[in-house]
Subunit: 485 residues, 4 copies
Amino acid sequence: MALSVEKTSSGREYKVKDLSQADFGRLEIELAEVEMPGLMACRAEFGPSQPFKGARISGSLHMTIQTAVLIETLTALGAEVRWCSCNIFSTQDHAAAAIARDSAAVFAWKGETLEEYWWCTERCLDWGVGGGPDLIVDDGGDATLLIHEGVKAEEEFEKSGKVPDPESTDNAEFKIVLTIIRDGLKSDPSKYRKMKERLVGVSEETTTGVKRLYQMQETGALLFPAINVNDSVTKSKFDNLYGCRHSLPDGLMRATDVMIAGKVAVVCGYGDVGKGCAAALKQAGARVIVTEIDPICALQALMEGLQVLTLEDVVSEADIFVTTTGNKDIIMVDHMRKMKNNAIVCNIGHFDNEIDMLGLETYPGVKRITIKPQTDRWVFPETNTGIIVLAEGRLMNLGCATGHPSFVMSCSFTNQVIAQLELWKEKSTGKYEKKVYVLPKHLDEKVAALHLGKLGARLTKLSKSQADYISVPVEGPYKPAHYRY
Amino acid sequence: MALSVEKTSSGREYKVKDLSQADFGRLEIELAEVEMPGLMACRAEFGPSQPFKGARISGSLHMTIQTAVLIETLTALGAEVRWCSCNIFSTQDHAAAAIARDSAAVFAWKGETLEEYWWCTERCLDWGVGGGPDLIVDDGGDATLLIHEGVKAEEEFEKSGKVPDPESTDNAEFKIVLTIIRDGLKSDPSKYRKMKERLVGVSEETTTGVKRLYQMQETGALLFPAINVNDSVTKSKFDNLYGCRHSLPDGLMRATDVMIAGKVAVVCGYGDVGKGCAAALKQAGARVIVTEIDPICALQALMEGLQVLTLEDVVSEADIFVTTTGNKDIIMVDHMRKMKNNAIVCNIGHFDNEIDMLGLETYPGVKRITIKPQTDRWVFPETNTGIIVLAEGRLMNLGCATGHPSFVMSCSFTNQVIAQLELWKEKSTGKYEKKVYVLPKHLDEKVAALHLGKLGARLTKLSKSQADYISVPVEGPYKPAHYRY
Amino acid sequence: MALSVEKTSSGREYKVKDLSQADFGRLEIELAEVEMPGLMACRAEFGPSQPFKGARISGSLHMTIQTAVLIETLTALGAEVRWCSCNIFSTQDHAAAAIARDSAAVFAWKGETLEEYWWCTERCLDWGVGGGPDLIVDDGGDATLLIHEGVKAEEEFEKSGKVPDPESTDNAEFKIVLTIIRDGLKSDPSKYRKMKERLVGVSEETTTGVKRLYQMQETGALLFPAINVNDSVTKSKFDNLYGCRHSLPDGLMRATDVMIAGKVAVVCGYGDVGKGCAAALKQAGARVIVTEIDPICALQALMEGLQVLTLEDVVSEADIFVTTTGNKDIIMVDHMRKMKNNAIVCNIGHFDNEIDMLGLETYPGVKRITIKPQTDRWVFPETNTGIIVLAEGRLMNLGCATGHPSFVMSCSFTNQVIAQLELWKEKSTGKYEKKVYVLPKHLDEKVAALHLGKLGARLTKLSKSQADYISVPVEGPYKPAHYRY
Amino acid sequence: MALSVEKTSSGREYKVKDLSQADFGRLEIELAEVEMPGLMACRAEFGPSQPFKGARISGSLHMTIQTAVLIETLTALGAEVRWCSCNIFSTQDHAAAAIARDSAAVFAWKGETLEEYWWCTERCLDWGVGGGPDLIVDDGGDATLLIHEGVKAEEEFEKSGKVPDPESTDNAEFKIVLTIIRDGLKSDPSKYRKMKERLVGVSEETTTGVKRLYQMQETGALLFPAINVNDSVTKSKFDNLYGCRHSLPDGLMRATDVMIAGKVAVVCGYGDVGKGCAAALKQAGARVIVTEIDPICALQALMEGLQVLTLEDVVSEADIFVTTTGNKDIIMVDHMRKMKNNAIVCNIGHFDNEIDMLGLETYPGVKRITIKPQTDRWVFPETNTGIIVLAEGRLMNLGCATGHPSFVMSCSFTNQVIAQLELWKEKSTGKYEKKVYVLPKHLDEKVAALHLGKLGARLTKLSKSQADYISVPVEGPYKPAHYRY
């Protein structure tokens, strides 16, 4: 797409695939609202007082129907919002269109190139006069990364006059990041530092982004407070687990229509995401084999009747491979060469480096046959057999299907709203330093409570004497911090 | 669509949505072949001897990718083939395109009107000079019905000069059938009788069609031999059960993206189809309630931990309703009025009369909002709440997704090929009278055996003394006819 | 035990372990009654009219608490009853005591020798003056066998003066049968023929016994009518499946306390019993591997995510082995030698010849260490590792636990009562020839219906027009005879 | 039993039910060793260096076969051991006999009175000259409680001359504790203070005991360091979850033989124990309803398809009730009165105050019928219907069956051994203050690793660059402290 910003009649900027899909997007947003009781409860509780009045929020998070409900919850609470997706394939174009038309500045479409992706991210952070956003909603940490790299480059440039050198890295994507920053330096050598100054904080959605934040906290590099939304129980033990249990088979079926029953499936990693994937595959009738580095997670897999082996043990016998590790270099081209004809290879971890796509693409003589968008058959010259790779190694549930369903995302996003409210409310109190925080347990329990009514549940109430007996307040929180659920 | 037959460069007739999708269809057909070992084994075993040389086969069966592999198996064995779909929404247009271009005469597209549907059926049966087909592959019995009604009308016309009166029936679809026959009488008053004469037999795919056949056998009205493929174990206990276990959630997810976990789902009917649906919903985390008329099936549901209640008991509390009964008038508009806002209502039984669509459409003041094709929200005026109806009450797995996956359809369709071979081979021997037959158990076992290797299974072999001990041949069949599996 | 008949104060014969356990047995019988609604409904419906008035019923069927409720249902309907167990380990001594004291002549105790077993069987059939029973309830067919062998011997003896020669067979158990018959010939050379004359018929409980009956029907050797209770849907698809799903893990846990989760379990045979066993093991967290001869059953196992291999493939890697085949020579001593230390080997099929106990017992240098009754560790001299064999290779759920639970046995036994009533009612009508019959479907459905209320189920009622549409009576039966459930 | 200490020929004290069961116990201990690879690995790794040389360990923990393997691991590492059970019904008498004869001083039998229970506890802590133990293994905290109450009383007595007054409490059990302490004051008014002086620390097994410890830490009352073994992942997420998933149905089946399939089961509490119980019941075919106070746990239950209601909602419809809360007053007599006839009521939480046994016992006109030990039917006079209470409201898996299986207890107990080693190693370093500690993650992972080989698992190894990428050491620990598994 030509990379030029467009404007609505009211003057709001956007860049989406097709604004005419807005009506369709609006219909699905309305359906989703019924499935997202936590967000709707936030609108009811906080809407009247407009707590985000005056706040600019930039979000880098899959631009789906569910995210649309999040965005419109933020605007319903008074915020101005700019948004981009955090994955080149995860945007639902009708959702983007509806939001662009009705609610917020959106820069996102399904099937961005990497250059387009980072252009969108930059647009999302750029509020024109007055610098950047007050608050960031991040997923995977790319918005946060861009600011941190930008500030680093500006400081180096001020000190030594040196500009970032895209050739200094082998990583194709990081080259682009450096190029953007280098080019920006020319027009405004303090752009990212101004952003940093204004920024109240970030709330981060996912394991991978959180890991980056803790690393920065460790080295003292973190430039603003961060709330780790991922580790709210109502996020990581719900979205990661139950969301993937839903969306992994959804992605597999939409991309390949393959019968899961009877197949041998390998799930690499048995964390929350892996647990959800393995459960879904087992329930669908596959025989599931898990690979793990962590003996505790491995033992959990065994207790569920799953076999624990190494990828090498099973690479030539399995039909379906899913990476969920959050680590890199899990399935290499050398593994892929040994797989059965039409073995399916996909990733549901945040980044695409779990699968060695570079090795595959550059394999001598390999042939890529695109069955349909996000479903490619790669044929090896030696054997003339092929494997099927989904979403080019990126998040297959978002690339090949529509991601997690609304209900579970309502849990995650209600945590986001609460985190953003908390950062904004405490912006001048010094409560939050340049560190990573998790939400207090009573808010976590509140998020859960907001989702019970929709499912017809009725909670039991503690009596005072029972509460005293187990030393908790009658109204909670009910568990110690270390409780694992 | 304008109802005119088109021709390929080689002169073969067709009518499909878009012939340019043939390449895409071909790619998916090639993937499906790998998943359909039974059909491919038939090609390997029988292809060389061309047993269908000279046979004309007409098929009325969902024109999907899997059916494409069936069709090309029939042509690989020497047959000439004409095809239509047996459901207005079930055609996959790229599959139809590939077959039309490469292999057989196809009249089918997704989203036919009822008039178009019956026009296609008629085209499929019309082989021009020399009358109709030698063999029919039927699914639901519509092709068989048309011939039987046609013959009846011709005989009445010959006897009394009376032509069928479309106004004699309230049933909108049957009106069309009568119109077609009436109009045909003018041009050729013995068309269907000539068809009947030529016809060797039909092999019927599904419960509903089989039921019709047995009723005709009962009354002596059956005009040609029929093989009941549905009641092969490798059909009804596989496709109906495991196929639906796969394709029901697939349809739900593609149509609505709804989170199944935590929801209350009602499955009407606990036969093979209902068992598959209930298993899928339970595994996805729903709480499943079954409605049943048969105490044995009800007790089976209870043994799996499912609740058995009447629809009236739960109509206002459930989130998802699925009909699987093969009966009519299961969910009436009066039920739908009482449902929760955005309750999902769908049918996975063969015919669309399980859900009272007519009652819904004619409900005073009701408003239909099409979210996307095959997903409609119907809003009742009194409550201003809506329900979501999938595929207009027709088979939701084919209307909203792609139907059963290839592997399980390979079982069903291998039975079809074997049935067609059997009818053709015995066409002059009198082995098959005008009755309904099931395939012998050793062929049923053979179908299963053809599918084991793909899944890495290794069978145990009976010793002679073991075989004698249980009084079966070493090579099978292994079970008495009444065995239930 | 000394083999002498004892008598109650009222003069009824018995031989049990310990009559003082009768109170305990009575308490458990009373609990079981609440769980056996089918039998209690029979008492309510038929008790007042005393249909068995004057009938002598002999039963050879595991003398458990559940059987006690069956026996007392028969007596409540007017019958006189004599009973023995059909397995040397399956008697629950407190159940036997309660029945012996209160209701019927019982000859059964847990841990009979084979000689004792056949003595009990003979006692059970011997009604003194007037010959044998009018009706037999059989399980596995031993009572039926004894009569058939007896008649054969008597006829031979009359013809040629030859008596049976126990040395003519290698089978230890059959030696005993021949001895009993031979010895009986001396005192009364027409005893079994008189029995045969009086006998109205037998109702047979289990697959194994039914197989014998069909073999005799085939060869014309069957001496009286037989009702195949096993193949009532409410028997074989309930007791065999759900009963074993319950009682297999129960037996394993009581015998060995072994943790099932994480273990590799091999289930030999995937019929109804194997399906129940495999489901139980999978649910408990084992990884289950199935061995099968029948490709259809094998494919069913695959569809449930189970691996299908041969015993040889996995013999040295699995932890638990269960035979369920109804065939012989499944696990041989040569397999057992290769198993892991403390692998558990057990059988839940009717006869003990699935496991090569003779091979094990006679293995040179093997050492048997009895952990507790029915749990033996057998140590091989070469490796000094051992395997654990349950119930000496006999039905482990009855040998090591208490067999199937009451509720599911209520289904089976209600079929028995109905079968016995049917035989008795038609004793003079000639309705039943010397053939094997199954109960009509409406009675099968009735048995199910009697069990729904206890579980809180509510059936849906067909309307007349719905019933007509699917061509069934409103009140059932609802399915064709070949329906598989 | 007469409360007098007996002595083995070697002079070791004991009091058990029947020393002649020692051989049987030994056989089962040998079987258990094969299933407890963690403990056996500890013997192999630490045995040679005899790290517990000179250490006196007192344990208050269910005296089962598994505990026997723990005790003999402690003695194999050089410790002297005295032991009692922490529940009046949980002792396996043959295990106690084997240990008493061969390895350690044991005071425990199945079916102690409360007086006997506390006498055993006192014996266990009493090492004669030199005061008490160096280390305590506690389960539920009763040993720790006795010392803390003892010290408190001694201090009060020293200060004011006041002795504890058993009449000051309504709690029957606490009366006994006060009596013991009061009586002890006379003979030695500094007995518990001497114990405290010597004590290096305690390792506590279970949630309930841990809760008490944290309360004491909070108020500063804790007298010695404590290691919270319960919250090792390899304990609470294994033993509590997978252990109960195994032992709950085991207890139900041994106690009542009830068919679980088809029943409605209520699980009160959905923590680790509740999750295990609910999973087991669901898998066995029950319909499971959960009661919860914590909205997060409630939402987890819903995601698994379980209904969440209050006890009042379902009390009259359910068949089986299980308490797992760790709280008190869950099922009151007023609930029990409203239950169905023969509803089963049981507790698997640590203490027996979850079920209102006192209310039941003192209900006017209630009748108790003991079916067999630990299975009582209580009949209410108004309705003449009864409920079945297991193990008198105490831990039903230990009272009615044999508790958790060896394999999962090996995880728990390996944590115990490691905790004891840690306390003993650091006894003079001041590393541990009078606080509650959990074991470091690398030890937790080690425990898991020791259990993988037995189940045939093969771990994947991180490469250095992968480890760096996720910022963990190659050899672990792999997860942050807050990770929930």
